[in-house]
């Protein structure tokens, strides 16, 4: 187990170093002078030069990289150019929107997709299966941001039940917060659920062909009992992988939906920070995102070991 954790930790560090290097280089190479962006195109040259000096932009790249990493390691984050606060503070504030949104969307995805996928597999090639497969094929084709717009159109414009976007903040009450995140979560969940349902179906179908399911039937279990008692848990092993991928996509990839619903999430923070060349925010946020992805992969591996007893033996 220790070796397992050690390996994991090494991957974690390697990914973070890799990501930080890539981000730093990309920000370095691509055009756009933060000082110039901050002061506007008409700023005079002296002012720009002074600001560059103040921001430390005139130091060599290696020094700046090491200073940045050193800061991250010791927990002292940089200052955002455009917001004037610590990037750490800024990111944490945005995470309070993105993480609940991702959790809600993932929850909806799982609640919709697993029963549908399992149901479709149990009705292989019959009406129930064909309907689920057809609907999910449609679901995959619909861009999630368009579905978000349609939801706004229906619930906000036609019915007037919800606001067309925005986020009141958790201080206004948990219920208000959740209801503001509800439509965006549905928009995110639809496409993911369609993919996950199809994947679950084929995983369950694969397991239903296994010998041990036949053994279960030979014991006298009904088709249904064999499905739920023996097939589903085995089918979850590959399904969990996809769920992990989807969740890391949700945590980092909600930028488009955050724009549709005007939510102050991490994706939009990165998006706006890039537009403002707010370098400290961009690079810290990206490293945080990468860390989240690795952590989720780790949780998925733990889930595996919980579902599949064969894995525990190998890791010790």
């Amino acid at each position: 187990m220790n070796l397992f954790l050690l390996k994991r930790f090494a991957t974690f560090i390697a990914t973070l170093i890799g990501t930080s290097l890539v981000v730093f280089l990309v920000l370095e190479v691509l055009p756009g002078d933060p000082a110039l962006v901050m002061l506007g195109p008409d700023a005079n040259e002296d002012a720009v030069a002074a600001l560059r000096d103040k921001l430390g932009l005139n130091q060599p790249a290696v020094t700046r990289y090491l200073e940045w990493i050193g800061g991250l390691v010791t927990g002292s984050f940089g200052q955002s150019y455009s917001y004037g606060v610590s990037t750490g503070e800024l990111i944490v504030e945005r995470l309070w929107v993105t993480v609940p949104l991702a959790l809600m969307a993932m929850l909806m995805t799982v609640v919709i997709a697993l029963p549908l996928g399992i149901h479709a597999a149990s009705k292989h090639n019959k009406a129930g299966d064909v309907v689920v497969m057809g609907v999910s094929q449609l679901g995959i084709a619909i861009p999630n941001f368009w579905f978000g717009i349609l939801l706004i159109l229906f619930f906000a414009v036609q019915l007037g039940w919800a606001s067309a976007g925005g986020f009141p903040g958790w201080d206004e009450g948990v219920l208000d917060g959740i209801s503001a995140l509800f439509l965006p979560a549905i928009a995110l969940a639809l496409v993911q659920a369609a993919i996950l349902a199809r994947f679950t179906r084929s995983a369950v179908l694969d397991v239903l062909r296994e010998d041990f399911v036949r053994t279960a039937r030979a014991k006298g279990l009904t088709r249904r009992a064999a499905l739920w008692g023996h097939a589903v848990r085995n089918a979850l092993i590959p399904v969990v992988t996809i769920m992990g991928l989807q969740f890391s996509n949700l945590l980092a990839g909600t930028v488009v939906i955050e724009n549709v619903f005007q939510l102050p999430g991490l994706g939009r923070l990165v998006f706006q920070a890039i537009a403002n060349r707010d370098v400290p925010v961009v690079r810290d946020a990206v490293v945080i995102l990468a860390a989240k992805v690795v952590i989720i992969n780790f949780v998925v591996d733990l889930l595996y070991a919980w579902i599949d007893p064969r894995l525990k033996a190998h890791d010790v």
């Binding site: 691509l30 084709a141 861009p143 941001f145 717009i149």
Partner: protein, 287 residues
């Protein structure tokens, strides 16, 4: 796309294809979208970029089939012309991704060992990050525009094709006829070109179809964020963005471009699934 003429032209392939419902539905939908793009070069109901200021935000009517947008442009014409953009970005991005990815994958498979390890770990690294966010960041940094969005989407197709190529090529390398060719003294490059590539083309065609669908979705998302094709060139994603600003006055504006995106993606996915079904049993019988 010349689907029927792909190397899967085994005897009876066309006959089986015509009886395969999802293949037929996918081919028809995809064909219609391509046709729409082609027709838009010679004819659209109105010139797509013509603004009729007196006719802003009109609902669908006989004169304006799908209504007009906030500048008084004809939505139907914009959608027709927008198909060109989606297809262009999809074809070029997948083309770039496929060319580079297949080259890496074949190289890794022919060399094995460290080369393979490095190529695969690199592609893992690109994969680890949600593609849409990376594409957003790249285009935001490099500047909005068709070329940059093509590059951003293309980059994320490279590891997809590299992985799939390597896996498929490795299984070809293990087959008897390749062993025979190696025993006959043929080099890695010749074997790759003469034996490996022809045997994995069908798998690549299926994957390309599906990646094409994903590229259309990604392009739409980038354009929606204002990072894709720049105005005035028509683009479905940006039409949705503009529509959202007028959602209370003119709700239908937000509907039609989305339908166009969904139908294109649906068509390509059905086509890909159908192709996979049609090709798979053939592979199974070879075993």
């Amino acid at each position: 796309m010349t689907v029927a003429a792909t190397p899967s032209a085994a005897p009876g392939f066309a006959a089986r294809a015509l009886r395969h419902p999802s293949f037929v539905a996918g081919a028809v939908l995809t064909g219609l979208i391509v046709l729409m793009a082609l027709v838009s070069y010679v004819w659209t109901p109105h010139p797509p970029l013509e603004m009729t200021v007196s006719q802003r935000l009109k609902p669908p009517s006989e004169a304006w089939w799908l209504g007009t947008d906030a500048f008084g442009r004809d939505v139907a014409s914009l959608i027709m012309a927008g198909a060109r953009n989606s297809i262009l970005v999809g074809v070029v991005a997948v083309g770039i991704g496929m060319t580079a990815g297949v080259a890496f994958g074949l190289y890794a498979s022919a060399k094995r060992g460290w080369t393979e390890e490095i190529v695969m770990r690199l592609s893992d690294f690109v994969f680890a990050f949600p593609a849409i966010l990376s594409a957003v960041m790249l285009t935001a940094l490099a500047g909005a525009g068709t070329a940059n969005s093509i590059i951003a989407i293309g980059i994320f197709n490279v590891p997809v094709f590299a992985r799939i190529t390597r896996a498929a090529a490795n299984s070809v390398w293990a087959r008897e006829f390749v062993l025979a060719a190696r025993a006959a003294g043929k080099g890695g490059f010749r074997i790759t070109v003469e034996h490996v590539l022809p045997n994995i083309v069908s798998i690549l065609v299926v994957q390309a179809t599906i990646q094409f669908a994903i590229a259309i979705l990604a392009e739409a998302a980038l354009s929606y964020l204002g990072l894709g094709t720049r105005p005035p060139d028509p683009s479905w994603g940006r039409m949705l963005n503009e529509a959202q600003a007028h959602i209370f006055r003119s709700p239908t504006l937000a509907v039609f471009p989305g339908i166009a995106i969904a139908l294109s993606v649906l068509g390509l996915n059905l086509l890909g699934d159908g192709l996979r079904d049609l090709i798979d049993p053939r592979l199974a019988r070879k075993r």
